[in-house]
Amino acid sequence: MSIQIKQISKQFGDFQALKPLNLTINEGELVGLLGPSGSGKTTLLRIIAGLETADQGQILFSGKDVTQLHVRDRKVGFVFQHYALFRHMTVAENVAFGLDVLPKQQRPSKASIKQQVAELLDKVQLSHLASRYPAQLSGGQKQRIALARALAMQPRMLLLDEPFGALDAKVRKELRRWLRNLHDELGFTSVFVTHDQEEALEVSDRVVVMSQGQIEQEATPQDLYQQPASRFVYDFLGGVNVFEGEVCSTAGHSNNRLQQGKAWVAFPDGHKPQAGQLYLRSHELSLSNQPSATAHLPLTIKAVSLIGAEVRVELEPLDWQSPDLWEVVISHSHYNNWQPQRGDTCFAQPQAGQLFTKNKENQPLALNWTKEHLLIKTA
């Protein structure tokens, strides 16, 4: 079932939760709505489900207008942030609820309901908990039961509000994979809300980034990561270092540099120098003891942490300004050869980055230094 959102907007009192927005979700797609709290992502999800009514606009399911349709008639599987299991019912009664409340003519027989519940519990691998109460389950188990309950009415669409928000890291990862598999197996359309970029990038076919009631960007995880459309998306995806500079042509300096005090980055050949903020991802930088011909970015090492497959180095700009500390990721082999210590000075060399020119929030200029770097190395 495809979902079409046309010019939907919503206001809560003085707060504009959603500015008129359009979005199309294709049949069978798994879409992640990503954004900080207050960005309107949950409101949008609830409007799709019919739990909230939009002030304006239209919602179509497979081309059929459902804007005025009540939530109970939309046949949408909704999984709530805190699971919202019925606390006074057993797990089996929870899962059976959707079938139990069907009108008499459509309701399956008691035996059939029992069998369907057993199958669903089997699917979520929790058959042994059928007679427990929600209070006796762990977070991950509750989440699975909430899913089984939603699946009982065979929805063609599954909407999940922060499905993994309240779980610990390991269970999260496991459930994420499980959800992805379930989605592929059952082939429905799924939309989930998250504020965790990693989660969104890992699970979704397509990610919709939202901020302040607007869609900032919709793209596949690859495209989103490689080409963030705006400053906000770049910031929100995280792990980014910012160098703000001017283009100056004072004596003694070449004028193809982005300069801040004594620190600078040279523009790669073929790019017109422009003032602005250079965004550099933590893995798109290298560190060395010497400045290079294309960059002079002195930094002091504040911390070195060996986490997993890579080494993370926290750095503080030396004699220039940055809103946040810098973070650069280097390989273990580089770390072993170099052995950086706290307090050491080193120099950053960008390989690729995006320049947001002054007063422009989107359409950054992509810059790449790898070629020149190679030239210098070979020279």
């Binding site: 739990l51 008639d73 299991l85 019925f86 109460y133």
Partner: protein, 275 residues
Amino acid sequence: MHQQRIGDQPWLRRLLIGLAFLLVGILLVVPLVAIFAQALSAGLNIFWVNLSDKYTLHAIGLTLLVAALTVPLNLVFGVFLAWLVTRFEFPGRRILMTLIDIPFAVSPVVAGLMYLLLYGSNGWLGSWLMDHDLQLMFAWPGIVMVTVFITCPFVARELIPLMQQQGSSEEEAALSLGASGWQMFRRVTLPNIKCALLYGVVLANARAVGEFGAVSVVSGNIRGETNTLPLHVELLYQDYNLVGAFTSATLLAVLALLTLVVKTFLEWRQQQSAR
């Protein structure tokens, strides 16, 4: 040596527990025992005579009637109000929540007077009612009206914090699973608030049975007509019929004790089923 918490010393603990029991004894148990002792002081026979007095029987009947009308009204009103203020955002919601407390804040006698001024034969609405031959004050409808007023916050007050804390997501889940409004209420909302609802009803019932101040203003104290049990106790007392007064008082006390037993039993059963 580990640090002792306050009250960890055995003598202090014993002292505090002893003090609590002493206070409960003096303030609660002794008066309760005294009521029964006084009522039975002239023997079971006199107790029985007083109990089967026709005015006493009428007072019992009227009191039960008032409770039987007030409590269901309160139940419906309380659930409706709690539902309204916890599930919907609307202008005036906060004011409404404050207004619920008015019967708690206003002295019952003042509440009775308000009703008398409004619905009495000289009141604004009363004169219109008189013209249509409807008498509310100094008759049982008036007693029911003020009792409803006095007891109306009990159920709502019990429910509002609970429903606020529980939030509406279970109800939304029920709706998203296809439940009708009534199915949602009966199968999700009601079981979740059952305990608090029962507690509110028990409190409202106790108050409805025992209310004196407001009722005494609007009832007119007509023996055999508008006398409820608490008023009857006072009348008998003023008649120097001490044994009679205490006999009626035992009825109120027994009702109160029964209420407690019912409440405890219901709570116990609730815990059993929830495990």
